[in-house]
Symmetry: C2
Subunit: 345 residues, 2 copies
């Protein structure tokens, strides 16, 4: 009977969390080559970009890696809601001299598709992971037939049982502390979200498949604690955000290194779904969970020009500054070194 | 150099969380005799009741125990606010046939006082712990002069540093997962509250004094994980709530044993301060953090007759069903057995 680490073929029980928008293949390659599981976030990539990135990974490492996708149901665009959102942002458009009539829909985030499955069949990454549930059965079967190990995130025991029943090979227990988007998909009540300390042992008890701990883990002691709660591995995101291989923006890096990183919150303003980030001007002024932001992923388009204009001035007030509750592990060191440090317990 | 456990004189790194309203000396005695640190919550006791309870403990065990107090600043009663609160509850008064004009202020919760310090000097418990900060310097000095070890709860690193600077001998890191009242005292923004997985290592790094982990710990694996995060001991509350030695009400016990215990939230309805409990009718209908409830501890008086009337019908809809996020460790077994099980890792 192989252990989970043996099945994945990784030397260290460390999974680098896929973080769309702040990293590409470079971070994944560094972590995989160091003995952890590097992850490539694909939710914001075209299939062409995916192929380019997968090819880079294949050229740079023979180690296992993870390709991550979202699998939300895209909402119907709602003109009235979009207009209300832009009206709520109008004072900021004026402040930054932006003409809102010129805003075009951004690349957004696309769910896993038949075209993405083609890419998976072509590159056969060791692991394919999902956020917001699982893709439809037909697509999932194509991934499994390619020999990929399938992971998905759960934020409650109910979600974990749902994923296990539908064929996930291991489940990521995403505690309340985690940065970025909550993987929640059976509920939209953030009151149901529990801490890593609670979620990991509850899922270990309830599931047959291995559990990966995520949320608030930032150093080797945290990894050791996660394993002693019964996790088969730890998934770490925030700590990698200021590594040189990440593509994290300047304003985001500055915020992560500042006192501000001690104050994070769940907010739906930046995308339409609850995600944890550092409290900044937009959150303070509109309220983190304001329902005026359109449904995921539509909220981001109207913000894009504001974000760009503010960032040009070194101002992160309109940027999603994704960050978990524990930024204390952020270090400006190569990701390989960080990976080895995380596993030295 | 003595370890923290040696300084306390306890065999096991287990502290039973003081839980006002649901336990008295019997639970504390059982835990202390089993080798943990039993705790007596004194916030709802008169000094006469304290003397009776301390005498019972002294008669039943020679082991160390902890006396716990609140140290909030009592608010000025506000007639308009009380009237608004009763108006919000009026439909329930009608439903249960309660005459609100006959409601009298209940015993409430008193902060630590000179009279309580007299009792401490008389009984000299090994440990005196506080919630909501520390008492004024003059009173704290009397406790220290009695040879007691002083603990207090922190929900942020800032609060922990504040307590350490003012003389606390060890700090309880109260993670977001914990049941009952948040010990928060430097902020009233629940957005600042972080998970146990984050708070413990951050406090271990920031403090010179020992850190006790609390919140979401419900079994031996949880205790082991807390220790591997650097905690000197673990404080556990919820798991003890259905032990025979606890005085937990029937409706509360029923809720703890049900699926309902998986859905907790922070609410200020029952006391005026945020506390974690199982979502019930009052919370669902008024909203967990509704500002209409008067300031701590004044909110409870107007609820008392409703709670009593509903409980008579086996209905816990108006009772504070305090519970942490992890009720999976609740067991109807003697507290001594539970204590030993928690330490068997």
């Amino acid at each position: 009977m192989k252990t989970f680490q043996e099945r994945l073929g990784i030397e260290l029980p460390i999974i680098q969390a896929p973080m769309a928008g702040v990293q590409g293949s470079a971070l994944a390659i560094a972590v995989s080559n160091a003995g952890g599981l590097g992850s490539l976030p694909c939710a914001m990539l075209s299939t062409e970009q995916m192929r380019t990135e997968f090819a880079k990974i294949r050229a740079a490492t023979s180690k296992p890696y993870n390709a991550n996708f979202f699998c939300h149901t895209p909402p119907e665009p709602d003109a009235a809601r979009e207009a209300a959102w832009r009206a709520a942002l109008s004072k900021y458009y004026r402040e930054f001299g932006i003409d809102p009539s010129k805003i075009i829909a951004g690349p957004g985030r696309a769910p896993f598709s038949a075209e993405a499955a083609d890419v998976i069949e072509e590159f056969k990454p060791t692991v394919v992971s999902f956020h917001f549930g699982l893709p439809e059965q037909r697509l999932l079967e194509r991934i499994k037939a390619s020999g990929c190990i399938v992971l998905s995130s759960a934020t409650t025991v109910d979600e974990a049982l749902w994923l296990e029943a539908r064929g996930a090979d291991a489940i990521i227990a995403q505690g309340f502390e985690a940065g970025g988007h909550r993987g929640m998909f059976l509920t939209d009540d953030v009151g149901t979200q529990v801490g890593t300390f609670v979620l990991v042992p509850q899922m270990v008890r309830a599931l047959k498949v291995p559990v990966i701990a995520a949320g608030g883990i930032a150093d080797a002691k945290g990894v050791a604690a996660a394993l002693s709660l019964g996790a088969a591995a730890a998934q770490i995101g925030t700590s990698y955000l200021i590594c040189p291989e990440a593509t994290t923006s300047g304003v985001h890096r500055t915020a992560l290194k500042s006192e501000a990183a001690r104050n994070t919150t769940l907010t739906r303003l930046f995308s339409g779904r609850p995600a944890r980030g550092i409290v900044n001007r937009l959150i303070r002024e509109l309220g983190a969970m304001n329902e005026i932001a359109p449904e995921f992923p539509l909220a981001s388009s109207a913000l894009a020009p504001l974000r760009a204009a503010a960032e040009k001035l070194g101002d992160g007030g309109f940027s999603p500054l994704w960050c978990g509750q524990n930024a204390s592990g952020c270090a400006e060191i190569p990701a390989a070194e960080l990976t080895r440090t995380l596993a030295r317990f």
